[in-house]
Assembly symmetry: C2
Homo-oligomer: 208 residues x 2
C-alpha cells in the first residue's frame, strides 16, 4: 500500500539488549535502515565515518544546528550527538523504516516534531534481570553498575511516554515481535490516506 517508510525510535535501559536486538533486526529483514548519528567525539579504533557515526568538528556540528539540519541533538560530557535529517529522510523516501536508537530526552523531542513517530521502549522482563545483565557483563566496575541502575530509575519515570513496550526476554522472539510491531504500523489509517481517497473515488465512479 503506502510505500514510504516509518520513523521508529527505540530507547531502553542500558542492559536491555537494544544493540543486539537492532543488529538482529537488520540482519534478518531488509526493510530497515539504522539512522547514523553525527558526533563531535573522536572516532575510536575501528570506527568509520558514515558507518558508526558521521564525525564532525565542533564548528561543523554547530553549523548543522544553525542550519536546522538535525532532527534532534544533545550534549554529553562536552561532546555533541545528533540525528542528521538528510540520511533519515532519504531512507524514508526509499521506503525503508528508519530506526533511531536514542535516549529518552531525544526520543520525546523527535515525537514532538514528528507525532507520527513510533516510540518503542525496550526493557528486560524485570529489574532483577536488568541488574543481573549489568553485573553479568563482568566488564564494569561497581560504580559504573550503580550509575546505570540510578539512571534506569530516572529513565523508568518516562516509560509511559512511549507508544509501545517491548520486553526483551529472548532475542529471537523479541526480534520477530519488534518486526511485527513496526510492520503493523504501516496499516494505520493515517498512513493510508491516499489509498482511502483512491478507493472512495473509484467507488463513486463505479456507482454511476
Amino acid at each position: 500500500m503506502n510505500k514510504k517508510g516509518i520513523l521508529v525510535v527505540i530507547s531502553g535501559f542500558s542492559g536491555a539488549g537494544k544493540g543486539t536486538l537492532m543488529k538482529e533486526l537488520l540482519r534478518r529483514y531488509d526493510k530497515y535502515a539504522l539512522s547514523i548519528s553525527a558526533t563531535t567525539r573522536r572516532p575510536r579504533e575501528g570506527e568509520e565515518n558514515g558507518r558508526e557515526y558521521f564525525f564532525k568538528t565542533k564548528e561543523e556540528f554547530e553549523q548543522m544546528i544553525a542550519d536546522g539540519e538535525l532532527i534532534e541533538y544533545a550534549q554529553y560530557v562536552s561532546n555533541y550527538y545528533g540525528t542528521p535529517k538528510e540520511y533519515v529522510y532519504k531512507c524514508l523516501e526509499d521506503g525503508k523504516d528508519v530506526i533511531l536508537e536514542i535516549e529518552i530526552q531525544g526520543a520525546l523531542k523527535v515525537k514532538e516534531k514528528f507525532p507520527q513517530t513510533l516510540l518503542i521502549f525496550v526493557t528486560p522482563p524485570s529489574a532483577e534481570e536488568l541488574k543481573r545483565r549489568l553485573v553479568g557483563r563482568g566488564t564494569e566496575t561497581a560504580q559504573v553498575i550503580a550509575n546505570r541502575m540510578n539512571r534506569a530509575v530516572e529513565e523508568s519515570a518516562y516509560m509511559d511516554q512511549y507508544d509501545y513496550l517491548l520486553v526483551n526476554d529472548d532475542l529471537d522472539a523479541a526480534t520477530v515481535e519488534l518486526h511485527e510491531l513496526i510492520q503493523s504500523q504501516h496499516k494505520k489509517l493515517s498512513e493510508n490516506l491516499p489509498f482511502v481517497g483512491q478507493i472512495q473515488k473509484e467507488l463513486e465512479e463505479l456507482q454511476k
Copy 2:
C-alpha cells in the same frame, strides 16, 4: 505480560471477505473469541441459540437495553441487533481477544464508550475488485449488487475513523497480518501500566 484480552471491532464493505477472514483467524489461533450478538429476528434453518446469535423476544431485548446489558445495539428492518456485555466481558477476563464484527455506526459507538477498542476496517485491494467479488458470488440480483455498492460508497466516508486498515487481497496473508496487528496491541504502553509500575518499584528497591 498483561493477561486481559483486547476488544477488537472489525468492519468493512460487504464483499470484503470479513466472514471468511474471521473463521480463518479463529481456526488458526486459540487466542480469540467471536462476540455473539443478540437479535430479535427468528432463527434460520440450522442456527442455534448461543452459537450464531442469542435469540431474544422484542420484550427481552428491550429489557436488556433498559438494564444497560448491551455494549451497542441498532435496529434494522424492524429487528434489533446488539452486543451483550456479559459474554464479551467474560471472554476478555479469560484473556481472550474478543472480536466484534459489526457495522460502522455500531463500531463508532463502541469506540466512544471504550476508547481502548481497536477498530479495524477490512477492504479489498480496489473498488473494481469489490465489485468483481459481489458480482462473482453469482447469487445476488443486479439490484442487490447495486445496493451494496451504494452502501459501500456511504461506508467509505467513515473509513478514516478507524485505527487500522487491512487490505484483504490474499486470505492467508490477511489472516496472519490481522493476528500480528492485534497481538502488537498487547504491547501498547497503556496495556502495560501494571508492568511499568512494578519495574519502577523494583528498580527503586534495588537502588537502595
